[in-house]
């Protein structure tokens, strides 16, 4: 996904609604995926998306094209906005699950249907599980970084990741997972 032109950015900075809408149309769908991954269970990812876009328009003047892609910059804003809504207490909630020891990497993502399926499951992970899982597996942060971001201990991050993987594996393996995935 290419960066928006400098003309669009400058128009957005001036508050031009048409340019802002153009930016929204281009990036909203991709950023909604991010919002779905990080928004707490009891919050609406669409609200996160809207709040994020307000921040994007506000801080557009700070975007430096030379330092990366616009979509990456927006992703970080969405992640940050979603994490702000996360109650730290919920991270420590323990969901009783059956321990599964298999590696998550066995489940290779092959097509868009798989992604949609996994995203649905990730969305249903408890708060704390899904944020740690996404930050580690999708964004590529290590446990030390995640611990700093979520203001938790490194060991907690490892534990949350392990439990989230186990839970996802359980869901993926389970026959019921398909049903769960279809229940909205």
């Amino acid at each position: 996904m290419e960066n928006p032109s400098s003309t669009v950015i400058s128009k957005c900075l001036k508050g031009d609604r048409k340019a802002q809408k153009m930016l929204f149309q281009t990036y909203a769908s991709a950023l909604l995926t991010v919002a779905r991954q990080y928004t707490p269970v009891n919050e609406d990812p669409l609200d996160t998306l809207q709040d994020s876009f307000i921040k994007i328009f506000d801080k557009l003047h700070t975007f430096d094209e030379g330092k990366g892609l616009f979509i990456s910059w927006c992703r970080r804003i969405v992640i940050n906005t979603a994490l702000k809504k996360l109650s730290k207490q919920t991270i420590f909630e323990v969901i009783p699950i059956n321990e599964v020891t298999e590696s998550f990497d066995e489940y290779a993502i092959t097509d868009m249907e798989d992604i949609e399926h996994i995203l649905k499951l990730i969305e249903k992970l408890p708060d704390g599980y899904k944020q740690v899982f996404c930050l580690y597996e999708i964004e590529g942060y290590n446990h030390k970084e995640i611990a700093e971001m979520l203001e938790i201990k490194e060991a907690t991050s490892r534990s949350q990741l392990s439990k989230s993987k186990n839970l996802l594996k359980l869901w993926l393996k389970s026959v019921d997972s398909y049903l769960l995935y279809n229940i909205q």
């Binding site: 508050g15 802002q20 995926t33 809207q50 430096d64 970080r76 993502i109």
Partner: protein, 466 residues
């Protein structure tokens, strides 16, 4: 912070289904509300700024142009009063200048009897008393919290580029100080007679500050800019240095000195030539945005002090000719007696001096985030571990050196609290304003101590140099 780069993760390019038109209409409504709020905020800030500027202007004007009533002594209206009359003989009394630092002296005498007067009890003027206001002004420790957190402005105008952290910031700052100074003589049994509560105010202008911002200094959270940026900067400890160079001007007015009836008023104007300061702070992050700082600083000031003393003396003149009359026989007779006379003198003196202080301090601070603004609350305490003054003064018209006059005043300490509110402006500019209270105790000499309560308002602008 290192992280595995998974930018090519397939989920990154996945687009969720979304009703663009519907969501845009919702977002547009929110944007309209936000814009309206912004306009309202701008009006309020403008209003506040105008009020603030007017307040500062008024205070500065009052300092520069209004001297309290007690000091408005119109010397032209003060004349010698005549009281008792006794028949004796004429006598002339020599005039003697009692002050050590006088360059010129003006004696105002509207007595119709042309005479000069000896000034009794001249040494009763306590030099330390005179030095107190100026000494206090000069020795104020600089404890602005901003010195512990100069990087706050980097955070206020936080950008992704700012992760590379600007090394220096240029600052414009104006500070207004108002002091109440109390002095008392420790060894004097009649302490109540030696307490004076003068009004002392000063205006300080320090235009240029260069600050070294360490790369590992903490960042203030700034919504949504960069997750890594936000969480990268939570160091447990860091060291930072700052240096400032500038000119300053201050003036003070002592309303009434009750320690000595002879000196009713004192004006003291100080013209600062230059000031420079080097300081270092070792800071610890205690968690939850509590910061503990240990500071060490060295400050040196060069200044010219212009003193104006207005003294009133009661003088008893014996054998003063009171009246001359002629008898019917053409004999001229003189009636002489004792007169109590009150004379007013206005004198000025000039001191050229440099003062230096070395101080240690400790500060505990907490940063609050209010929308995109930052509020810093803090408490600090410290001690001046070494002070020194050296320079020249005029004695009987001859320039003389003096040194280490404050060397004995090592027993100075202070504590206070401060608030700083910082507001990001456009681009690399940020504005901050604050209030600071400081209790300061200075041991003047072996027998006296000066206590001051300082209320300081500040308004400043920061510009970042990347």
């Amino acid at each position: 912070m290192e992280s595995k780069n998974k930018n090519n993760h397939p989920i990154h390019t996945f687009k969720s289904d979304l009703d663009i038109e519907l969501e845009w209409s919702k977002l547009e409504q929110k944007l309209e509300v936000r814009d309206k709020k912004k306009r309202r905020m701008f009006i309020w800030y403008s209003f506040g700024a105008v009020i603030g500027i007017a307040f500062f202007g008024l205070m500065i004007f009052s300092i520069l142009h209004k001297i309290p009533n007690e000091t408005n002594v119109d010397t032209s209206k003060i004349a010698i009063k005549h009281t008792n009359n006794m028949v004796t003989y004429d006598q002339q009394i020599e005039n003697k200048n009692p002050f050590h630092e006088l360059r010129n002296s003006t004696i105002i005498d509207q007595n119709p009897v042309n005479s000069t007067f000896k000034i009794f009890n001249a040494q009763a003027h306590n030099e330390n008393t005179h030095q107190a206001p100026s000494g206090q002004t000069l020795m104020y420790p600089k404890t602005d919290l901003k010195n512990h957190f100069p990087e706050i402005n980097a955070d206020l105008v936080n950008t992704i580029e700012s992760q590379s952290t600007p090394l220096f910031s240029d600052e414009l700052k104006a500070t207004f100080l108002t002091d109440d100074i109390q002095a008392y003589n420790i060894n004097n049994e009649k302490q109540s007679e030696n307490v004076h509560i003068p009004f002392h105010s000063s205006l300080e202008f320090l235009p240029t500050t260069l600050e070294l911002i360490p790369l590992n200094s903490p960042k203030i959270e700034f919504d949504g800019i960069d997750v890594k940026n936000q969480y990268d900067h939570t160091p447990t400890h860091w060291l930072q240095m700052s240096a400032s160079l500038g000119i300053y001007s201050t003036s003070s007015h002592l309303v009434e000195d009750m320690t000595d009836d002879n000196v009713k008023t004192l004006q003291n104007k100080i013209e600062g030539l230059d000031t420079w300061r080097i300081s270092g702070n070792y800071n610890l992050h205690l968690g939850h945005r509590f910061y503990l700082g240990f500071g060490l600083d060295y400050t040196r000031l060069t200044q010219i002090q212009n003193y104006t003393f207005i003294t009133t003396d009661n003088t008893e003149i014996i054998d003063q000719v009171i009246e001359i009359y002629n008898t019917n026989q053409g004999i001229s007779s003189k009636v002489t007696g004792v007169k109590n006379q009150v004379s007013t003198y206005q004198r000025e003196s000039v001191r050229y001096q440099s003062l230096s202080t070395t101080g240690i301090s400790i500060a505990l601070s907490k940063i609050f985030k209010i929308n995109n603004h930052n509020l810093i609350l803090g408490a600090n305490a410290g001690k001046t571990v070494f002070t020194q003054a050296f320079g020249q003064y005029l004695y009987d018209g001859v320039s003389r050196d003096f040194g280490d006059v404050f060397a004995h005043s090592n027993n100075n300490h202070f504590f206070g609290f401060s608030t700083l509110y910082a507001i990001p402006l456009s681009g690399k500019w940020a504005m901050h304003s604050g209030y600071q209270y400081l209790y300061y105790s200075q041991k003047g000499d072996a027998s006296s101590r000066y206590i001051s309560h300082t209320h300081s308002l500040s308004l400043g602008i920061h510009y970042l140099i990347h």
